[in-house]
C-alpha cells in the first residue's frame, strides 16, 4: 500500500468558455443576497400580492362559471359598485377587462415592493467590490468586463424575476385552471406576454440604474440613499407639482363661483332666489365636471408625471397591459352622466406613453454610459 503525497496536487479538468462566467457571478451574488434576514422577509412579503392576485382570479373564474360558491358574493360586489350590474349577467364579456385590472393592481403594488427589494440588495453589488478591492481578482481571470456586468445584472434579474415574473406566470396558470374554459387563453394570452414584458422593463431599467449608482461609490449606504432619493423624492416632487397645478385650477373655478354669488340683485323674491340658487347649483355641478374634463385634457400634455421614476414605469405598464382600454369598457356599464366622472376617477394621466418610454430609454442609456466609464477606470492595479 503506497503512501500518498499530501502536498500540492495538479489538476486537469474542463474549463467552460467565458460566456458562462456571468452565471457564476449571478449565483454568487444571489447567495450573498439571501444572507440578509430583512431581505428574505421582504421577498416573502413581495409574494403576497401574487397570492391576492391568485385569489382574485380564482374568484373571478368561479363567478364566470356562475358557481353556487360565489352566488352570494356577486350581489355584495355589485352593491359596493365594484362591478356594474351588467357584469353579473354576462361575466365573460368583461373577462379581459377584469383580468387586466387585477394584473394592473398587482403590478402597482409589486412596483413599490421591487423598489424596496432593490434598495436592500442592489447598492452593495458593485460598491462592495470597490470597497474591498476585488477587481484585481476579477480582472486577472479569463472573463471580459461585460461578463462581470452581465453577472451583476443577473442578480437583480434573479431577485426581481422571483418577485414579479414567476408569481405572474404561476397566477396566470392558476387563473386558467379555475376558469375551466380554454377560450380564456385566446382572450388573455396577450396579457401574459404584456406582464412578462413589463416585468422585464422594470428589471432592466432599474437594474442598470442601480448598478450604475453602485459603481460610483464605495459606500453602499450612500448608494441606497441615492436610490431612495430617485424613487421617493422624484415621486414627491412630481406629486407636489401636480398638486400645485390642480390647486391653481380649482382656485380659478371657485373665484368664478364666488363672482356669481356676489352678483346678487338687491331685491329679489323668494321664488327668484330659489331659482337662482338652483341654477347656481347646477352650474356648480357642471363646473366640477368641466374641471374634471379640463384635468383630463390637460393631462394629455402634462409633463409633470415624467419627473417621478415610478410613474414612468407604471405608464409603460398601463400601456403594455391595456389598462386604459379596460377602464373605458367598464365605464360603458355606467349610466352616461356618471361615465365621465368614473373615467376621471380611475384613469391615470393621459400623456402619450412614448414620453415615458423616452425617459426610461434615456435613463438606461445614461446608466450604461456611467457603467462603461467607471468599470474602465476600475482596473487600477497599482
Amino acid at each position: 500500500m503506497p503512501i500518498f503525497d499530501q502536498g500540492y496536487q495538479h489538476w486537469k479538468g474542463p474549463l467552460s468558455s467565458h460566456a458562462w462566467r456571468w452565471f457564476a457571478i449571478t449565483r454568487h451574488g444571489v447567495r450573498i443576497g439571501f444572507q440578509g434576514r430583512v431581505f428574505r422577509m421582504v421577498l416573502l412579503v413581495s409574494l403576497l400580492p401574487a397570492v391576492a392576485l391568485a385569489t382574485a382570479l380564482c374568484l373571478w373564474g368561479l363567478i364566470e362559471r356562475q358557481s353556487d360558491l360565489v352566488a352570494g358574493l356577486v350581489p355584495i360586489l355589485v352593491s359596493f359598485q365594484f362591478l356594474g350590474p351588467g357584469v353579473a349577467t354576462d361575466p365573460k364579456m368583461y373577462r379581459v377587462e377584469i383580468w387586466t385590472l387585477c394584473f394592473n393592481l398587482f403590478f402597482s403594488i409589486e412596483l413599490t415592493l421591487s423598489m424596496i427589494l432593490i434598495v436592500l440588495v442592489g447598492p452593495s453589488l458593485i460598491s462592495q467590490d470597490l470597497r474591498f478591492n476585488a477587481f484585481p481578482l476579477y480582472l486577472s481571470r479569463p472573463m471580459r468586463r461585460i461578463d462581470y456586468l452581465g453577472g451583476k445584472l443577473g442578480v437583480i434579474a434573479a431577485f426581481l424575476g422571483l418577485a414579479i415574473i414567476v408569481p405572474c406566470l404561476l397566477t396566470y396558470g392558476l387563473g386558467l385552471l379555475f376558469t375551466f374554459d380554454l377560450t380564456i387563453l385566446k382572450d388573455t394570452y396577450r396579457l401574459l406576454f404584456a406582464s412578462v414584458a413589463y416585468g422585464l422593463v422594470i428589471i432592466f431599467v432599474s437594474g442598470m440604474l442601480i448598478l450604475a449608482l453602485s459603481s460610483l461609490s464605495r459606500s453602499s449606504r450612500w448608494v441606497a440613499l441615492f436610490w431612495l432619493g430617485i424613487w421617493l423624492v422624484s415621486g414627491f416632487a412630481s406629486g407636489a407639482l401636480e398638486g400645485l397645478q390642480v390647486a391653481q385650477r380649482q382656485r380659478a373655478h371657485f373665484q368664478r363661483v364666488a363672482e356669481i354669488q356676489t352678483k346678487r340683485p338687491a331685491d329679489e323674491t323668494r321664488e327668484e332666489r330659489r331659482r337662482r340658487v338652483e341654477a347656481m347649483r347646477a352650474d356648480q355641478k357642471s363646473r366640477v365636471e368641466t374641471m374634471q374634463m379640463e384635468q383630463m385634457e390637460a393631462s394629455k400634455t402634462d409633463w409633470r408625471p415624467l419627473i417621478s421614476y415610478t410613474a414612468n414605469l407604471s405608464r409603460i405598464g398601463r400601456q403594455l397591459l391595456g389598462t386604459d382600454a379596460a377602464w373605458q369598457k367598464l365605464s360603458e356599464m355606467q349610466p352616461p352622466p356618471m361615465r365621465e366622472r368614473f373615467l376621471a376617477q380611475w384613469l391615470g394621466p393621459q400623456y402619450p406613453w412614448y414620453w415615458s418610454a423616452g425617459v426610461l430609454v434615456g435613463l438606461f442609456g445614461v446608466s450604461a454610459g456611467i457603467l462603461s466609464l467607471s468599470v474602465r477606470s476600475l482596473d487600477r492595479l497599482r
Binding site: 502536498g7 450573498i32 474591498f132 476585488a134 486577472s140 497599482r382
Partner: protein, 302 residues
C-alpha cells in the same frame, strides 16, 4: 520558454513605462527586480493582457498576449500586491468562487478549493468569513485562489509585504515548493532581495522601462577566486598586521573582513596566521557579491 517580449513599448501620456523592451524568460522560478517606476507592474499587466501595448509583440506560454488574453489567463495565476477580497464569504467559498470564475464547474471548484486550502495551511479558518483573517492568512488565501485552477505560470507581486517573519517563511516555503518540486513556473516580483534569492534561480532586472540585466543568480554573483570573507571571534589587530606582512590585502566591512590572498597560496595561510596569533576564525567563505550588489551595479551601469 515562459514568456517573450519583442520591442515592446508602452507609454502612459508622457511617461514611458516600457521602452523598446526585449526579454525572454525560460521556465522555472524567475525574480523580477527593479526600482519603483521601472516598469515591473506594466510588464505584469501586459502579460495578463490588462494593458494594451503601443508597439511590439510578445508571447506568454506560446500564446500571443495581444490576441489570446483569455487563454493566457486560464493558464496563469496572479497574486496581486494590494489587499483584495471577494467580500462576505467564508474561505472555502472564496477559493471556490475564484475557481468558478476561471471556468471550473461548481463541484470541481469546491473539491479543488479544499485541496488547495490544505496545501497552503488554512485549516479550520477556511470556515470563517474572510474579513476576519489576519494579513498572513489573507496572503495565503490569495495564493490559494491563484493556484486553484493549476496554472502553468504563477505571478506573485510583492507577496511578503507586511508579513511577520513566520508568515514570510511559510509563504516563501510554499513558493519554493511550487517552483522546485511541483513544476510550476514562477514570476516573483519583490523588493526584498533575500526573498528573491531564496526562491528564484533566475532574475530579470528592469530600470526605467529597459532591461538592465538578466541571468542565473549564481552566475551573476561572481565568485572571487582569491577573496575570502573572514569573521573572527573578536577584532584582532595583530591578525590583520600579520596578514599584510604576508602580502594579503584586507578590508573591514560591517562586521567582517574581506581578505585577498596572494597568488599561489590557499586558505591554509589564514589558518596558519590564526594558529600563530591564537584567534578563532568563526567564518571563512569565498567572497561572493550579494544580490544587492549585483542589482545596484546593474542600476549604476544603466
Amino acid at each position: 520558454m515562459l514568456f517573450q517580449f519583442e520591442s515592446v513599448t508602452k507609454t502612459y501620456g508622457s511617461i514611458v513605462a516600457l521602452d523598446n523592451l526585449s526579454v525572454s524568460a525560460p521556465t522555472g522560478a524567475i525574480g523580477l527586480l527593479g526600482p519603483n517606476g521601472s516598469g515591473k507592474t506594466t510588464l505584469i499587466r501586459s502579460l495578463l493582457g490588462l494593458t494594451r501595448v503601443d508597439r511590439g509583440s510578445g508571447q506568454v506560454l506560446g500564446m500571443d498576449f495581444r490576441r489570446r488574453q483569455l487563454d493566457i489567463r486560464r493558464a496563469v495565476g496572479f497574486v496581486p500586491e494590494d489587499e483584495c477580497l471577494f467580500p462576505h464569504v467564508v474561505g472555502v467559498e472564496f477559493v471556490a468562487y475564484a475557481g468558478e470564475l476561471v471556468g471550473m464547474s461548481t463541484k470541481d471548484a469546491m473539491q479543488r478549493s479544499h485541496e488547495v486550502l490544505d496545501y497552503v495551511g488554512l485549516g479550520e479558518a477556511r470556515y470563517r468569513k474572510v474579513e476576519s483573517y489576519s494579513t498572513g492568512m489573507k496572503q495565503r488565501l490569495k495564493l490559494a485562489s491563484a493556484i486553484v485552477h493549476d496554472p502553468q505560470l504563477l505571478i506573485m507581486d510583492e507577496p511578503t509585504n507586511g508579513m511577520d517573519p513566520r508568515g514570510r517563511e511559510d509563504l516563501l516555503e510554499l513558493a519554493r515548493d511550487l517552483a522546485l518540486n511541483k513544476g510550476m513556473s514562477l514570476l516573483f516580483s519583490s523588493h526584498l532581495l533575500p526573498d528573491v534569492e531564496s526562491v528564484c534561480d533566475q532574475i530579470i532586472v528592469l530600470g526605467r522601462g529597459k532591461l538592465l540585466t538578466e541571468g542565473n543568480i549564481q552566475q551573476l554573483k561572481q565568485l572571487h577566486q582569491r577573496s575570502f570573507e573572514v569573521r573572527l571571534k573578536t577584532d584582532s589587530r595583530p591578525f590583520c598586521d600579520r596578514l599584510s606582512a604576508l602580502g594579503c590585502r584586507s578590508e573591514t566591512r560591517e562586521d567582517f573582513l574581506v581578505v585577498q590572498i596572494p597568488d599561489g597560496r590557499t586558505q591554509q595561510l589564514l589558518w596558519e596566521v590564526a594558529a600563530q596569533e591564537k584567534v578563532q576564525i568563526r567564518t571563512l567563505r569565498p567572497q561572493r557579491s550579494t544580490l544587492e550588489e549585483v542589482f545596484l551595479k546593474a542600476l549604476e551601469q544603466a
